[in-house]
């Protein structure tokens, strides 16, 4: 039977032995062993707790308190130790799983757009945002719509600028030389209601060199209604150029000539390469020609079913290749029709 002081000393001894054992446990098995030894049914702590009843009544309370505190302490130390051991094991495992993160990833082939498609979509979206609706027309077009309805009669000098492909076995039909016939189609569909139309598509000219391709793309816009003026054209072009070339774009209109518009204007933007200082691309002028435009000619309005005394309108057309070449610094138009993946993979 233990004496009071001795009993408390024994608790101390028990504690220090148990602590040493727990600290010495290196893995889960050793720790479990220690748990059985010290906290198990047959362990010294349980033994001592059972022995409280044999202690003098005056000591019982303190002894019970000390033993219970010790049990709590051992349990919490074991939990801590448990965490330490599993942390160390995980760390060791992860270190074994280390690999060379500088090795390249599993390659994925990305798809991507064509520069012409990028420009086309941007042009259409910019005009859509201004309330223009999309329309289309055939590439094999009648001479009447491609020329006569657009105020380009046979022998008109402007026909010289349209080196035309004729369609075999189909007299009176050509590969359209511009997207402007879609104007007539749209007007005839909507007259006398107002029209806001855009179209984009392929056009054809008998031309083949660094800056001319026999097949190329145009985008065309048209607005007809009562009270449409040239200031509306300028406003539309300004918004349109901002959408394509950025917020800070400057535009300049120059008088020009197109058979289907009067007055006509060529539209320049401030050179995007030199900021207007003058460079090789703008030939020192600080401006780059972007598109042709004007007020729809009365003859064309009549062809479209409108009364020029009541209705006015504006139209403009853009070469998609030209914009793509300017925007992406491509200097040979033929590159745009080669589908060379070395170019396409840059987009």
């Amino acid at each position: 039977m233990l004496k009071g002081m001795d009993r408390m000393k024994d608790v101390e001894a028990l504690r220090s032995d148990a602590l040493r054992d727990i600290a010495a446990a290196r893995d889960e098995a050793a720790l479990e062993q220690a748990r059985i030894v010290w906290l198990g049914r047959k362990g010294p702590l349980v033994d001592a707790l059972r022995g409280i009843k044999d202690a003098p009544a005056a000591e019982r309370r303190d002894l019970g308190l000390a033993l219970n505190r010790l049990r709590d302490e051992l349990e919490s130390l074991m939990t801590e130790r448990q965490a330490e051991i599993s942390e160390r094991a995980l760390f060791a495992r992860l270190r074994g799983e280390t690999f060379d993160v500088t090795l390249p990833g599993r390659p994925r082939a990305m798809g991507g757009p064509h520069p012409l498609q990028l420009v086309e979509d941007a042009l259409v979206d910019a005009l859509h945002a201004l309330g223009f609706h999309f329309a289309e027309g055939p590439e094999v077009e009648s001479e009447a719509l491609n020329f006569e309805a657009l105020n380009i009669p046979a022998d008109h000098p402007a026909r010289e600028m349209h080196d035309t492909f004729f369609v075999q076995d189909q007299p009176g039909y050509v590969l359209r030389t511009h997207t402007s016939p879609v104007q007539i189609r749209a007007m005839r569909k909507h007259a006398p209601q107002p029209v806001r139309m855009i179209t984009v598509g392929r056009v054809y000219r008998r031309d083949d060199d660094v800056t001319h391709s026999p097949v190329f793309h145009q985008m065309e816009g048209l607005a007809v209604g009562e009270g449409i003026g040239m200031h509306h054209l300028k406003g539309t072009l300004y918004e349109f150029c901002r959408a394509i070339f950025g917020e800070d774009v400057r535009i300049r209109l120059r008088p020009s000539y197109f058979p289907f518009t009067e007055p006509s204007a060529e539209v320049d933007i401030g050179c995007v390469f030199c900021g207007g200082e003058g460079c090789r691309i703008c030939k020192g002028t600080g401006f780059i020609e972007i598109l042709g435009s004007g007020m729809v000619h009365p003859h064309v309005l009549r062809e479209g079913g409108y009364d020029p005394a009541v209705h006015t309108g504006f139209a403009f057309g853009v070469g998609v290749e030209r914009i793509a070449m300017l925007r992406y610094g491509i200097d040979d138009v033929r590159l745009l029709f080669q589908s060379d993946l070395r170019l396409l993979r840059q987009f």
Partner: protein
């Protein structure tokens, strides 16, 4: 056309700097495409006088020169020197426009201190065979650049067809520039010719349509002088070459006023002068020495012996003015722009004259030009003799154009008063009578391009300056239908890009033999193709796509995945019908080589992409059946359908076709009709998520080896109906232990009911129903 700053200055008075003039002209619609500086870079050359000439060899001459300071010796090969002439002398150290710096040089033992300069070396002209002879009053010792006013600014102007009607002349350009500077360009007034001289030949114009006005005068040579330097310099600056005094004079008047003139050597023509249509097959040797066979479209000037000029285009060698010519018959006429333009295009001869006639000339211009010729002739030693012959009268000016000021205001969106509009027009030389809110406009006679109110509005705009336009957005208009196929195409391209495809763009004109190789012969072709390889309209997008594929392979580019959308052209009876297609192709591995290995794409890569794309595009009930496209591998191709609707085809390229196209690797290609896809597409409506759990069952079926999977699949779908939430084939196996002639198909079937939780018993019942049917139909049994 070209015009020098100096010429414009002479007409209008002192001008702003050339860069500013170029900007003003451009903003006025006369686009200055280039500002050239002739004679730029010449420094150190002096005016010198030839003192003495002595031969060095047969071709070289030693020249003793006098400058203001000292004498110098030069050796030259030029034939046109004589003592007393003033010449440009470049002493050693002189820099020439071409960048050379002169030094002393030895010729056959004679030291040449620098050289004498030709117009070409100075950079102002094209004459290289002689030394430029300066006027006698050129001050000795003066710097040549200063004396000649170098460098000389020359504007190269790109003319639109309407400006070509009134600005192919110094006066025309000056009128436009003057409008912006508040100056006016004086014009020469037309004068009647007077009576025909005695014994003049008769003049017959066959048809006023082809030649509304023909005027002729006679000119005589009075002195044998050279064309003065100032006139030659104008010709040079405009890009023309001086020829002889009389030719130079007519060219000069053309450049100044825009009226082409033609001199005939009088002694080389005889009998009445006729203006008529050419007879088809008639021949004429033009001044450039080319024998030309004429067409009935051409207009000729003829005498007793036949044509002496191709009217409006070029004269003939037979009536050419030469050094011995003492008298000329000079023509100033108007010819049908349409006819001249046709002749010019037909024979490809864009002479200065033809380019002016082709755009049309003012009705009174021939008589103005003759009046000007009369003034200038003495400068070149010639004289215009009194009287002349004329056919046709100068057409009266067209009646004034009446314009409502409100129309101009609406069209331009500018709140301009009648008076503001009138003064804008007057600055361009228009006569305007205004009253209340409308006005009557008479354009200058040269402005044949101004005919109706909208033309006048453009002139108002140019008169006030196009830079004054306001900026406003148009009012909205009602919405309109848009072609759905356009949006499907954009969506489809996005889907294929997401699947790793790059977008291709090919010519829609192709070689017909390429289409034949692909088994889809051309149905429409171009009548006037540039070349065979751009002569047929494509019937399939695969033509361009496979060419692009071959081109990439030839350039060593691999891992090819391309998609293209566009139109193909077929014929339906007489009409060409356009259809929107989409084609896609794979060749080689999907990704670059890496340590993860690489597999060249095969049929099932392409088909997987197709299935994914069609699902993303909401094309329902997609399935395939074996196809018979001659360009594809007979055993590795399929037709694609949505329900009963045929969408297109896909497969492995036939090895023989591949070889013909220069494609050395296995290529896979598919083509779909966007219109068919559009018709098949279903609306996007979200289905409710399943509320009850699914049961998953794997079954391995043994069937005949040649039974297509699609047939089994259709049966599975039919038997299980709504119960089948998903099905997948996860293994195909033939060989032991599967009996020969058989294969095993491993299917994972996901069963689910929208109404209740399925029980094991439900699944058992459904599967046994399925197996029974498959056994009955195909003799299938469980493995």
């Amino acid at each position: 056309m070209r015009i020098s700053h100096a010429w414009l200055t002479e007409i209008l008075g002192p001008l702003p700097a050339p860069q500013d003039v170029a900007r003003i002209l451009t903003e006025q619609g006369l686009e200055v495409e280039a500002l050239e500086w002739h004679g730029e870079g010449l420094s150190g050359a002096l005016v010198a006088q030839v003192q003495e000439l002595s031969p060095v060899t047969e071709r070289l001459t030693r020249v003793l020169l006098h400058t203001a300071q000292a004498d110098a010796i030069c050796v030259t090969g030029a034939p046109n020197l004589e003592a007393g002439l003033k010449v440009p002398y470049a002493p050693p150290g002189t820099r020439l426009p071409d960048g050379r710096t002169l030094e002393t040089a030895q010729f056959h033992g004679v030291t040449s201190h620098g050289m004498l300069l030709s117009a070409d070396e100075i950079g102002i002209g094209s004459d290289h065979d002689g030394i430029l002879v300066l006027p006698q009053d050129a001050p000795l010792g003066e710097d040549v650049s200063a004396y000649l006013g170098l460098p000389e600014a020359v504007y190269e102007i790109g003319l639109t067809p309407s400006f070509a009607q009134h600005c192919q002349s110094a006066i025309g350009v000056a009128r436009e520039l003057g409008a912006r500077l508040g100056r006016s360009a004086p014009n020469v007034a037309a004068q009647p010719l007077g009576q025909p001289p005695r014994s003049s030949p008769s003049l017959q114009v066959e048809d006023a349509e082809i030649c509304p006005l023909y005027a002729g005068v006679w000119m005589g040579r009075r002195e044998d002088v050279k064309t003065p330097l100032w006139m030659r310099r104008r010709l040079w600056s405009c890009g023309m070459r001086p020829v002889s005094p009389i030719v130079d004079l007519t060219n000069y008047v053309m450049l100044e006023l825009g009226q082409p003139l033609h001199p005939f050597a009088e002694d080389k023509i005889q009998g009445p002068i006729r203006v008529r249509s050419a007879e088809a097959g008639e021949e004429l040797e033009t001044l450039d020495g080319v024998r030309r066979v004429l067409s009935a479209e051409d207009i000729v000037i003829a005498d007793d012996r036949g044509p002496v000029a191709l009217a409006g285009v070029m004269g003939s060698a037979r009536a050419e003015v030469d050094a011995a010519t003492e008298r000329v018959f000079l023509e100033a006429a108007l010819f049908s722009p349409r006819r001249v333009s046709r002749t010019m295009r037909r024979i490809g001869l864009r002479s200065e004259a033809a380019q002016r006639f082709a755009h049309g000339l003012a009705a009174d211009l021939p008589l103005r030009a003759i009046a000007r010729l009369r003034e200038l002739a003495p400068a070149v030693g010639w004289e215009v003799l009194p009287g002349g012959i004329q056919a046709g009268e100068v057409a009266p000016a067209p009646p004034p154009i009446t314009v409502a000021a409100a129309y101009v205001r609406t069209l331009l969106g500018m709140p301009l008063t009648v008076e503001e509009q009138a003064s804008a027009l007057r600055s361009l030389g228009f006569a305007v009578e205004s009253a209340a809110d409308r006005f009557a406009v008479s354009p200058p006679r040269d402005r044949i391009d101004v005919r109706e109110a909208c033309d006048v509005a453009e002139e108002v705009l140019r008169g006030v300056g196009i830079g004054k336009l306001d900026v406003e957005l148009p009012p909205p208009a009602p919405a309109a239908d848009e072609p759905a196929v356009y949006y499907l195409r954009r969506h489809a391209m996005q889907v294929f890009m997401a699947l790793g495809y790059r977008v291709a763009v090919s010519y829609s004109l192709v070689d017909p033999s390429l289409l034949a190789t692909l088994g889809q012969p051309a149905e429409a072709a171009v009548a006037n193709a540039l070349s065979v390889d751009l002569s047929a309209l494509r019937t399939t997008l695969r033509a361009g796509l496979l060419q692009a594929l071959a081109r990439n392979l030839a350039r060593g580019v691999g891992e090819i995945a391309l998609v293209e959308a566009g139109r193909v052209f077929h014929r339906s009876r007489a009409d060409v019908v356009e259809e929107e297609n989409l084609a896609f192709a794979l060749c080689g591995p999907r990704a670059p080589i890496s340590r993860f290995g690489q597999q060249p794409a095969d049929f099932f890569d392409l088909k997987g992409d197709l299935e994914a794309a069609l699902a993303a595009l909401r094309i329902p009930d997609v399935h395939v059946r074996p196809g018979s496209d001659p360009a594809l591998h007979p055993g590795r191709q399929a037709e694609v359908l949505s329900g009963e609707r045929r969408l297109g085809t896909l497969g492995e390229l036939h090895p023989r076709v591949a070889q013909q196209l220069g494609i050395s690797e296995r290529a896979l290609v598919g083509e779909l009709s966007l219109e068919a896809m559009l018709a098949a597409q279903v609306a996007l409506v979200a289905r409710p998520l399943p509320r009850y759990p699914a049961l998953v069952r794997d079954v391995a079926l043994v069937v005949d080896e040649d039974l297509p999977y699609e047939v089994v699949r259709q049966e599975v779908r039919e038997v299980l109906g709504d119960l089948l939430a998903a099905d997948a084939l996860f293994d195909v196996f033939a060989g032991a232990p599967v009996p020969s002639g058989k294969k095993s198909l491993a299917l994972r079937l996901t069963l689910q009911s929208p109404e209740r939780t399925l029980t094991e018993a439900d699944a058992e019942e459904a599967l046994s129903r399925l197996l029974q049917r498959l056994a009955d139909r195909f003799g299938a049994r469980l493995r």
